[in-house]
């Protein structure tokens, strides 16, 4: 009991300059060394899963695409693949290839974004600025293909909306060539800059056994030697035609996570070029039924952060009965709490950024601590009226 009183707790969040999104962390420290950590999530819960139950299949697609602002395309892909499987619809090969193409461009943009954010947390703002400047290249490519920088709406149920024209083909090739050269430079920077290595090498080291115990997925897990990638293990869309090489490292520290993510960029460039070289001709969409056959299915895709999981249940009507989403940040979040112990408090932002967290994606539920006993249940109408009165 005595030791509990002695310990000093530092609360961080929900609103804190070091956090890009709201989450609440409590770190117990002994001097500078973290001895205990806990997290509370759910501040950006938006009720999207429930929202889909009142909307039809196409409307839900647009809603689900907005779960994540960075990896919106993988959400739409996971949902579309699941619904198409339920409906028994075969999507044309050209559409599947374009889905993969946009997914890989999105992975490039997400990893470049992460590289910048992680460099910023390490205090290396020059790398942050340069990597984000180069990221504009891929953002422009995505805007050229789909019209938007984020929330591309490239997918529709039964295919894709956008085609790749000859000019876009050329623009993508040029952009990818430029990015590949820059990425080679960044790989050299993160593996040779001494100042930067002191923030990454040997920090948050996760051996393979521990990574398996914590259930790490995505590039975070692959940096610890876990050979798991949905694109390789269970190829979806056109990944069986355009296979991806699995990239792993063994060190398991932050440096390995940098190396894995940057090497994944090279793999993405290769796949993008391969798709452009052998893009099959044909239709972009097939006709989807308005009502989806009764049944339930599971759909998995590899998001830039790891495995994205969708459970879709249909009861034969034009609205989904239940959609459950699990985003890759949730399994990785536990590792932050375990790995933080024994590190200095100053390393915490780096350890947290190391898993590439996306808070608002993973907030699937919210727990309201009702200590005062003021238990107010409101109907939808009453809540709506309250909102109108509040903003009057």
């Amino acid at each position: 009991m005595q030791s509990k009183i002695d310990k000093f707790t530092i609360p961080i969040g929900p609103q804190h300059p070091a956090l890009k999104e709201p989450g609440h962390f409590e770190f117990s420290v002994d001097g500078e060394i973290v001895t205990d950590a806990s997290v509370r999530l759910g501040y950006v819960h938006r009720g999207i899963e429930k929202g889909t139950e009142g909307r039809n299949w196409v409307q839900s697609l647009y809603l689900l695409e907005r779960i994540c602002g960075i990896c919106s395309h993988v959400h739409a892909t996971a949902y579309c693949l699941g619904v198409e499987k339920l409906a028994g619809v075969e999507v044309p090969p050209r559409a599947q290839a374009i889905r993969v193409l946009v997914a890989e461009l999105e992975r490039v943009h997400s990893h470049m974004l992460w590289l910048g954010v992680a460099a910023h947390e390490a205090g290396f703002d020059t790398l942050f600025m340069y990597s984000w400047r180069d990221r504009e290249t891929v953002m422009n490519l995505l805007e050229g293909i789909t019209g938007n920088r984020v929330n591309y709406s490239a997918n529709v149920l039964g295919g894709v909306k956008c085609d790749i024209s000859a000019e876009q083909d050329e623009a993508i090739r040029q952009g990818v060539d430029f990015l590949e050269e820059r990425t080679r430079h960044y790989l050299e920077v993160v593996t040779s800059d001494m100042m930067f290595l002191r923030r990454t090498r040997g920090v948050a080291t996760t051996p393979k056994a521990q990574a398996r115990e914590l259930g790490l997925i995505g590039p975070t897990g692959r940096a610890s030697g876990i050979s798991h990638d949905v694109r390789v293990d269970a190829p979806y869309a056109a990944y069986d035609i355009y296979p991806v090489k699995l990239i792993t490292a063994t060190a398991g520290d932050l440096e390995a996570r940098f190396i894995v993510r940057i090497n994944e960029l090279f793999e993405s460039y290769r796949v993008i070029r391969q798709i452009l070289d052998t893009l099959p001709e044909g239709e972009l969409t097939v006709r989807m039924p308005r009502r989806i056959k009764e049944g339930e299915t599971v759909s998995r895709v590899e998001a830039p952060r790891g495995e994205l999981f969708y459970f879709i249940k249909s009861n034969g009507t034009d609205t989904p009965e239940r959609i459950k989403v699990r985003t890759p940040t949730l399994p990785n979040m536990a590792s932050v709490l375990v790995l933080a112990i024994g590190h200095q408090l100053a390393d915490i932002p780096m350890i947290l950024t190391g898993i590439d967290p996306c808070f608002s994606c993973n907030d699937r539920m919210v727990v309201v601590k009702d200590s005062g006993g003021d238990n107010r249940a409101m109907t939808w109408e009453a809540l709506r009226q309250y909102g109108i009165e509040y903003y009057r």
Binding site: Y62, N148, N151
Partner: protein, 164 residues
């Protein structure tokens, strides 16, 4: 050695053009497919394309659109066919700019245009009314309501070419 290479990068970039732009003065062009603020379109003669069918409001995943229809007559004609939109409101705070209203529209009346500077001081200001959304009358056209000869505009949905 690293130090020299680092400063070489800095010096190289001193002589390069800046990649940032001074936003309100300078603007970056958006792409063809960009989805920004909506516009309600008109025919060349000035009649409104919107026929007040509310399909966009039904399609909207965010319930951002509110349409109220009224009857056309040959003395006061707003659009071809029987009905026109008397009230057409889009709540820009609710709108998620997905473009499903465009897909739902049978007359291609609503189009997501390239205007993206949408900011408001008040939530009420975010509700765009029909006057704010509708395109200006094209040259040679006539503002609505028009007086038209009977029997000419009986068809709500025009003959349209297939989309490219």
């Amino acid at each position: 050695m690293n130090l020299i290479r680092g400063f070489a990068t800095t010096i190289k970039h001193v002589f390069e053009e800046p990649v940032t732009i001074q936003f309100p003065e300078e603007e970056r062009p958006v792409r063809e497919r960009f989805k920004g603020r909506h516009a309600l379109k008109r025919y060349d003669n000035g009649l409104e394309k919107c026929i007040g069918c509310s399909l966009c409001a039904a399609a909207c995943p965010a319930d951002a659109i509110w349409v109220e229809a009224a009857e056309n007559s040959d003395e006061a004609r707003y659009s071809p066919g029987e009905r026109y939109a008397r009230t057409y409101e889009i709540n820009m705070i609710r709108c998620i700019f997905c473009g499903y209203c465009e897909d739902a529209c049978p007359t291609e009346a609503i189009v997501l245009e390239h205007e993206y500077r949408l900011s408001f001081n008040d939530r009420v200001d975010a509700v765009y009314t029909k006057d704010m959304l509708i395109d200006p009358v094209p040259p040679g056209g006539q503002d609505t309501p028009q007086v038209t000869e009977p029997g000419k505009f009986t068809r709500s949905i025009p003959e349209m070419k297939d989309p490219d």
